[in-house]
Symmetry: C2
Subunit: 119 residues, 2 copies
């Protein structure tokens, strides 16, 4: 059934379908985006908190990746007018739905690994 | 609910979880793998048939990609002892389940695009 839906979409509007798949793939591409999204799935965090959660990421890389994710509508950045100013990062509503996609990918990866390497 | 499953998996066995996600991502990575899988979702095909379905791919690239997919347990290659010898490519059972993953990715990409660009 799943397959039918996919094929139907793919056939009825190929251009939009390729765009949508690429949008999703782009969110995962690169070394750091997935760990950052994972860290923010629980709740909003400050820059240094995110950094602590992701071993080996440099502040410079984290800053760049967060900016990318913000531009792509995955992360929302909020500046609080406190002293000192504090900045918090959280997932957008749209990005929270990524959990379902990750689940499906995980499920497939596990069964595929079992079939191909477990045998 | 989806999110909970994902988080549970991620927390209980992070190493296996990262491996499984990477397995799935690797199947999609690159310019040609997704079109090749899409072409084979319907039924088995011969090399030249696949080539006709994918504009701009060179025989050399197609051959390389098919070999990669075969090694990763996504594509199955069968040689028929006919004259002349004929070779057919088809998706493995595991790869057929990718339809469900693609559906989820597509769904997310479409809603994300609508929210971020449609607004």
């Amino acid at each position: 059934m799943r397959k039918d839906t996919f094929l139907k979409n793919a056939k009825s509007c190929p251009a939009q379908y390729v765009l949508a798949l690429n949008d999703t793939l782009n969110v995962f591409t690169g070394k750091w985006k997935l760990p950052i999204i994972g860290t923010l799935l629980f709740d909003k965090k400050r820059f240094t908190e995110i950094q602590k959660n992701i071993p080996k990421i440099t502040p410079r890389m984290l800053s760049k990746e967060l900016k990318d994710l913000e531009i792509n509508g995955v992360v929302k950045r909020t500046v609080y007018d406190s002293i000192p100013v504090s900045v918090e990062y959280e997932l957008t509503d749209s990005a929270r739905l990524l959990g379902g996609v990750l689940d499906k990918m995980l499920e497939w990866g596990l069964q595929h690994r079992k079939k191909n390497i477990g045998e």
